[in-house]
């Protein structure tokens, strides 16, 4: 019987029948939109933003709340440009290019708004750990000292660092309220919704419900919020501790790209080390598999490289 069935079995070496090899359908070219940026004519695919157009013209445009992997929230307003016919300036990061638009990026008005936004942020937030922001402040001549006592009114600046778990800390005195972490934790990546913006106006801040600690919250310690934070408000505990001890030293650090060993997804990890110790793990934003996102294992699961730890297990279990 078994012989019989074997004989009936199809010959595994049957050649692929000849015929047309399917090819991918031709991608329809997106129609182009033509507009002028600082007098220069540019053509960008339909649906592009003014920021795309500026970048195509190699015009350096500052951004803080914008990142390719998240839906634009256009709240920081540091990217504003002048649009002919518009009463107000418009945010380059989210305003879609339309045919015939005339954009100006280097006028007195644009420079004033960008400078003021930077001054406002630096006068109410500790921006020292955001090289990006400090760089913009240089080039726009921002002077936050004009508003007097740096932390006279800024409650946010005086709040203590939140250290409530062994994996990462939240130092909202450095928060510029760019909404990126909220988006990463919610709809745009993690779908966990552990954090949101609470309060209103100058009291608005990032919080869990009733400001409960992370272990009490819905947080799963994916660290995707850390990955997008532009100001160092969210940092690895390892980095925080090194900085506290004054031992953080970028010049002694290396970054090595590797593949996460934990599962078959195969996320790319950029492992940052100082003196051969892992201090931070990220994933490149432009990486196709991750778009910069990881899970708790890839992000934090490298304690085994430094020997046993008494605390990390509890927290990890809590987050599961």
């Amino acid at each position: 019987m078994s012989d019989q069935s074997l004989a009936d079995a199809p010959d595994l070496t049957v050649p692929v029948p000849p015929g047309p090899v399917p090819s991918a359908p031709v991608r329809e070219r997106r129609p182009e939109v033509e507009l002028s940026v600082d007098g220069q004519l540019v053509s960008v695919p339909e649906g592009s933003t003014l920021l795309d157009a500026c970048r195509q013209c190699e015009i350096d445009t500052p951004t803080l709340c914008y990142v390719e992997t998240l839906t634009p929230v256009n709240v920081c307003r540091v990217c504003v440009v002048e649009l002919e016919g518009s009463r107000t300036l418009v945010p380059a990061c989210s305003r879609k290019a339309e045919p015939g638009m005339e954009i100006r990026t280097d006028t007195e008005r644009v420079r004033l708004s960008r400078r003021m936004v930077l001054e406002f942020l630096a006068s109410s937030t500790d921006v020292t750990q955001s090289p990006e922001l400090c760089g913009y402040m240089e080039s726009y001549g921002a002077d936050p000292e004009r508003y007097g006592e740096r932390d006279a009114q800024a409650e946010s600046k005086t709040q203590p660092v939140k250290v409530d778990n062994e994996l990462y800390v939240r130092d909202y005195a450095k928060c510029v309220l760019c909404y990126k972490c909220v988006e990463a934790c919610g709809e745009d990546a993690q779908n966990t919704f552990a954090i949101a913006v609470a309060g209103r106006g100058f009291d608005a801040h990032i919080a869990t419900e009733f400001d409960v600690s992370l272990p009490e919250s819905a947080c799963v310690y994916c660290g995707n919020c850390i990955g997008v934070c532009p100001t160092g408000a969210l940092v690895f505990k390892a980095e925080h501790d090194l900085r506290e001890r004054g031992e953080w030293d970028a010049s002694r650090q290396e970054s090595t790209d590797t593949i996460c060993p934990y599962c078959g997804v195969g996320c790319t990890l950029s492992v940052q080390t100082q003196d051969n110790q892992i201090v931070k793990v990220t994933s490149p934003l432009d990486q196709e598999v991750t778009s910069g996102n990881l899970c708790i294992k890839g992000r934090f699961g490298w304690q085994f490289t430094t020997g046993p730890s008494e605390t990390s297990d509890d927290v990890a279990a809590d987050g599961e």
């Binding site: 920081c76 708004s113 003021m116 942020l121 004009r146 009114q153 919610g186 919704f193 209103r200």
Partner: protein, 612 residues
């Protein structure tokens, strides 16, 4: 969504309050019939895609009304029932002034200390209340407490107080004009007092020339039968006879321009929404919170059937599925009367050819009057304005084409259909058509809402209201609202029209006319306005979130004669703060947060010396 909750459990009354809106949970957390129709006439049909999150604000109101604050357990239960992440619900609840996230006294007096009330003794009132009730914000343990409030929309009866009480039968009363004694009595007796008569807010009441205010104060304003016999529903019947296209043509021909502040041609909006396909909505913007504004309240209290009739017409003409009336949380009487009018029309079967109409209550956030913030608020999100474009006519409530109009704009629709668009356009001036309501408060002899055809000058309006009171010597007039501008005594001949106001660098805004006599400390008024915008900024964008704070600090420094560096330096800084708010903010709040201050500094010699 896989939600995570803290261990906190709700109390029995909190569960009861939530279930009253959502119906009892028949499984662990989902489903249930909705039973309570009083906390927002809400329903779930029509936007299944949005889930039930749009019920978050009504549920928070229900909890707050029942127990006076929102506890962890209550928030958890609401979130489980609605499938909303608790962190997000917390973000929503903390957005609104009227919600407390800490245990608070069941009876709270909200004492207006805004500009019109300041001119009428709010300072003394607060001091008096402090004497009998202790410091503001206190009273955690006692039965009643009090807080300072921005404008309550009762400026014609200044100084005004709103008392809210939670419990099995929550209530709210307006006390205006208030004294420390009347406020203390209402609080300690925990009993609802009768609200002032709306007729007293319309000094012209009874005059034959009135159109929009014709029925305000008539004793039959609350009965559908009387409304009908007084010519009510005539416009609705005309609309049914003539069809949507005719209605929209009349609105276009009328040249009616929105009365909510943005001055957009109404016909264009109606046309755009009518042409859109798929589900769409009508929203009546009754969030009226611009300091000095109370006209929409008077319309809703005085002639609620007319406002609802106009909403029916709007829904019919645009082919909308559902209409919402978003009433500010501080308007208990307007809410009650609108709710009653809707219920009457519904039980008479008259909404069938229009659409279901729901009331949603705001909870103390000026920004929710901005149309896109209002959509977010109804949808159960934080009342943060959206970036425009897209505009509401393309993507509004629940992402669908939406017609949003101010209460007064809608009230004009009845006149337009009855007189014909062309006849309506002939009233007023060429570019500002129709009758117009003006809100007179501050130092005028007879404060109230006045109706005149567009074209009257600021002087004529002040004279209509009996002239300048107080010392009788005019120092300045605030026109358009806190987002408007100050005019000097030499500019009173400017016509209060869209074009007339533009010519003097002001706007019609919400048609506020608030004169200040020469005893008023204008610097203090400016500071209060700056404080208002700082408090009411939603906090989303940097220019407004930080700019409104810096503006207030700067004015404080100038007022106390302690500039940083030279006065010139400070004035330049103020101009730059003003410019970045105007140029780079997301919404109208930031764009206009410095207008009144700028206009005053241009005209009056304030803050010109290093010491006062």
């Amino acid at each position: 969504m896989d939600l995570h909750f803290t261990a906190d459990e709700p109390t029995a009354s909190e569960v009861e309050a939530v279930d009253a809106v959502l119906g009892a949970a028949d499984s662990r957390w989902f489903g249930g019939q909705r039973v309570d129709r009083s906390e927002a006439q809400t329903s779930e049909s029509g936007h299944r895609t949005a889930g039930r999150r749009h019920l978050l604000l009504p549920v928070l109101h229900a909890i707050h009304g029942r127990v006076g604050w929102i506890s962890r357990g209550a928030l958890n239960y609401a979130c489980k029932r609605l499938d909303v992440p608790p962190a997000e619900a917390y973000g929503v609840a903390t957005f609104y002034d009227m919600f407390s996230l800490e245990q608070a006294p069941p009876v709270v007096a909200r004492v207006c200390d805004d500009i019109a009330c300041q001119a009428k003794g709010a300072g003394d009132l607060c001091a008096g209340i402090e004497k009998v009730m202790g410091p503001a914000g206190g009273g955690q343990v006692s039965r009643c407490g009090w807080v300072r409030s921005p404008c309550l929309g009762q400026c014609e009866r200044a100084p005004a107080v709103l008392v809210t009480a939670s419990g099995e039968r929550p209530w709210a009363s307006v006390i205006a004009p208030a004294t420390a004694q009347t406020v203390e009595a209402a609080c300690s007796e925990d009993s609802q007092t009768d609200s002032p008569q709306v007729r007293d807010s319309v000094p012209q009441a009874g005059q034959a020339s009135l159109q929009l205010l014709r029925r305000v104060g008539s004793p039959d304003a609350q009965s559908l039968a009387d409304y009908r016999s007084d010519g009510g529903l005539r416009a609705w019947e005309l609309a049914l006879e003539q069809g949507p296209e005719w209605v929209i043509e009349q609105v276009e021909r009328s040249n009616l321009v929105g009365r909510g502040g943005a001055a957009f041609p109404t016909g264009r909006k109606w046309r755009a929404v009518a042409q859109a396909s798929g589900p769409k909505y009508v929203v009546c913007n009754a969030d009226e919170s611009e300091p000095g504004t109370f006209k929409d309240r008077v319309l809703m209290e005085g002639d609620p059937f007319a406002v609802v009739e106009a909403i029916m017409i709007a829904a019919f003409a645009t082919g909308s599925q559902r209409a919402y009336v978003y009433v500010r949380g501080e308007y208990p009487d307007a809410t009650e009367r609108m709710r009653y009018a809707i219920a009457e029309l519904e039980s008479a079967g008259l909404l069938e050819r229009a659409c279901p109409i729901e009331i949603r209550r705001g909870a103390g956030a000026y920004i929710c009057g901005e149309e896109t913030a209002l959509f977010n608020s109804i949808e159960g999100f934080r009342g943060e304005p959206r970036n425009k474009p897209p505009y509401p006519t393309d993507s509004g409530l629940f992402g669908r084409p939406t017609l949003v109009n101010n209460v007064e704009t809608l009230a004009n629709i009845l006149r337009i259909l009855q007189q014909g668009g062309a006849a309506f356009a002939a009233v007023g001036t060429e570019r500002s058509s129709g009758p117009k309501l003006f809100c007179l408060s501050g130092h005028v002899a007879m404060p109230g809402v006045y109706e005149v055809p567009f074209g009257a000058t600021v002087r004529e309006l002040i004279e209509l209201a009996g002239g300048v009171s107080g010392t009788g010597r005019l120092q300045a007039v605030l026109v358009g609202g806190a987002a408007g501008a100050f005019l000097g005594p030499d500019e009173l001949d400017a016509p209060f029209t869209f074009e007339g106001m533009r010519a003097v660098g002001a706007t019609v805004g919400s048609a506020v006319v608030m004169p200040f006599d020469d005893s008023v400390d204008l610097g203090a008024v400016l500071l209060r306005i700056a404080e208002f915008f700082r408090d009411e900024s939603c906090g989303q964008c940097v220019p407004c979130r930080v700019g409104t704070v810096r503006q207030e600090e700067l004015l404080e420094r100038l007022r106390s004669g302690q500039p940083i560096g030279t006065l010139d330096h400070e004035h330049r800084l103020l101009r730059e703060v003003s410019q970045v708010m105007r140029d780079a903010s997301i919404c109208g709040l930031g764009h206009t947060a410095a207008s009144a201050v700028d206009s005053a500094l241009e005209r009056f010699p304030i803050f010109q010396e290093a010491t006062r």
